[in-house]
């Protein structure tokens, strides 16, 4: 039995939405960060599915670009998170309230 491409696209859209909503509603910075990764991987799934549907190898190779960029983002992102929360107990975004107006 083969599963149609539409189902993969729907799954990817659902994962992307979960990730996007997660970034907006979750308060823990690490969880927000993981949600961004979820969004990027939903995009990867979309790329692969479209590549399969279009019978085009290009879309699959794009995934490698996304993976590399996501890895680079993790390095910088975790560095920033560690720099901020080294002297704090939790990693809650609401604790960051110096800048407002």
């Amino acid at each position: 039995m083969s599963v149609g491409g539409e189902w993969y696209l729907t799954l990817a859209a659902a994962l992307f939405t979960i990730g996007a909503v997660g970034v907006l509603v979750r308060r823990n910075v690490l969880v927000m960060f993981m949600c961004v990764e979820l969004m990027l991987n939903a995009v990867n799934l979309t790329f692969v599915t479209f590549a399969r549907m279009l019978n085009d190898i290009g879309g699959q190779s794009l995934v490698f670009f996304v993976l590399v960029v996501a890895a680079a983002e993790v390095v910088v992102g975790l560095g920033i998170i560690v720099a901020i929360f080294r002297r704090r107990v939790g990693a809650t975004a609401d604790d960051l309230h110096l800048l407002k107006g």
């Binding site: 990730g19 970034v23 969004m39 990027l40 979309t46 790329f47 479209f50 290009g58 920033i80 800048l99």
Partner: protein
């Protein structure tokens, strides 16, 4: 083993694209300069404090020279696509290369006194700035949505670190955090848009997408429009248009002032380079769909930017909202969707780059103690009495941002609004003028503070020192603003010649 070997002879040679290094020279010089700095820090034993600045400024100068060579090359030989159509060299791309090299030179001079006073001896700030600028150059010449994404990330990841460059200030780290989370979020939105456009058109190459849309009427309409909308949102975050602007005031306020100046100039230029190319050129057949969206974004950006700037008491937050409203004017040029509109947008970005770098140079100086101790508007009381030249230059830059005649800011507003009128977007032209009136209030308020208010700092306060490098930035920015406000034709010619390769 033997069948495998026999098979290998039948595999055709891998077809690698021809790489025209000469046309990629501006980006390569910027990366090379960053590498040179990293090598120099570990090789050179005696390091005079000006060495890093000198290397960065020289790199910026070389980038500008290479870009100008490319400019005349494009003019004589015509625009072309290079590296298997992944990049494009046209007047539009070269225009942004020149703009980015200006930003690098002025940004390095702006950062030097700050880094000295705050005690950052290393070249890291300059390295990040150069790498970020290389990302901006890649974005300007991208002819493929994935290349555009790579440029966007090279630009942004370095900027996240620059925003948090001063770890002793909690505000700086908080700014880095906010910029990072929202930047990564917007990149993901942009990328999902790319994926949807790829699914609808079968390619990420801008030329192929354009040809596909021209020959196929509304294929996979929903997926394509969803993709275009997500690309608009993703790039809208980067250039800070309302409603995707929420990070801007916090990040501008928290980042070290020189980093803010560089970010405000480079990220906005690069983001608009991508936005203008993708929407005006690639999605030109979809303009009936995206023009109303850009119209709505431009209206709220103009109004929210200027109204919220009025109520700010922190100069950096005020400049953040003012840069949001500037982004609205550039959007007017895009909404016009005409050659005049694009030329107006380019001229606006050119004028904006000088105004914003000059303004942040003044803010860094007046901010004292490195540049972030005091950004309250009251710090500008009586500045004219203490530092007449600095106050005069800042007045010029503020009046230009407000759009007073005989400055580049006025002409920039004039060109985008007249392009809107030509495209029959009368409502948008009116709102643009209304927003300029509101904005004039807070620019003039600072001017009044500087000139009319007595200096309540008293005798005990140390005299405000203006470092030479900062002085150069302010002088160059003010001189550019006035000179090309009076004699605008060379710059207008430059912006008009910077056409997109369709």
């Amino acid at each position: 083993m033997i069948p495998l070997l026999a098979q290998s002879t039948t595999i055709p040679p891998l077809d690698t694209p021809n790489v025209e290094y000469s046309a990629m020279l501006p980006a390569l010089i910027l990366i090379g300069g960053a590498m040179l700095l990293l090598v120099a820090v570990s090789v050179v034993r005696r390091r005079p404090p000006w060495l890093w600045t000198a290397i960065t400024v020289a790199t910026g100068g070389a980038t500008m020279a290479a870009s100008l060579v490319l400019w005349f090359d494009v003019r004589d030989e015509g625009a072309r696509r290079i590296v298997a159509d992944a990049l494009v060299v046209d007047g539009f791309a070269v225009f942004f290369m020149v703009l980015v090299s200006v930003t690098v030179i002025l940004g390095a001079l702006l950062a030097t006194p700050y880094l000295d006073k705050e005690g950052f001896g290393g070249p890291e700030f300059y390295v990040l700035m150069l790498l970020s600028a290389s990302g901006a150059v890649v974005m300007a010449s991208a002819n493929d949505l994935i290349v555009l994404f790579l440029g966007l990330e090279i630009l942004s990841i370095a900027l996240y670190v620059l925003a948090g460059f001063n770890p002793r200030r909690m505000e700086s780290r908080e700014a880095a955090m906010k910029y990072f989370v929202l930047g990564a979020f917007s990149s993901a939105l942009f990328l999902y848009g790319v994926a949807l456009v790829y699914g609808a058109t079968g390619s990420t190459n801008l030329g192929v997408i354009r040809a596909f849309l021209a020959s196929n009427l509304a294929p996979n309409g929903g997926v394509l429009l969803g993709g275009a909308a997500l690309i608009l949102v993703g790039l809208g975050f980067k250039v800070a248009v309302v409603p995707f602007h929420t990070w801007t005031p916090d990040v501008y306020q928290g980042s070290p002032s020189p980093a803010t100046g560089f970010m405000a100039a480079a990220a906005k230029a690069a983001g608009f380079a991508g936005l203008l190319r993708v929407f005006f050129s690639t999605f030109s057949t979809l303009r009936l769909d995206w023009r109303p969206a850009v119209f709505a974004i431009a209206v709220v950006t103009l109004l929210v930017g200027s109204v919220l700037a009025v109520v700010q008491t922190d100069i950096k937050r005020m400049l953040a909202y003012s840069s949001i409203s500037h982004a609205g004017y550039v959007m007017i040029g895009l909404q016009a969707a005409s050659k005049e509109g694009i030329a107006g947008s380019l001229f606006y970005l050119l004028a904006y780059t000088f105004m914003v770098l000059g303004s942040f140079a003044v803010v860094t100086t007046v901010g004292r103690k490195g540049g972030d101790a005091n950004h309250d508007l009251s710090a500008y009381k009586g500045l004219a009495a203490r530092r007449p030249a600095l106050a005069l230059a800042f007045t010029v830059l503020l009046l230009s941002q407000a759009g007073v005649p005989f400055t580049t800011g006025f002409l920039a507003k004039f060109y985008v609004i007249s392009a809107a009128v030509q495209s029959r977007s009368y409502a948008l032209a009116l709102i643009g003028m209304l927003s300029a009136v509101i904005a004039a209030f807070f620019y003039l308020r600072i001017t009044v503070l500087m000139y009319a208010q007595p200096d309540d700092a008293g005798e005990g306060v140390r005299r405000l020192a203006v470092p030479a490098a900062t002085g150069i930035v302010v002088a160059v920015a003010a001189a550019f603003t006035v000179a090309f406000g009076l004699v605008p034709s060379p710059m207008i010619h430059f912006a008009r010649q910077a056409t997109l390769l369709l």
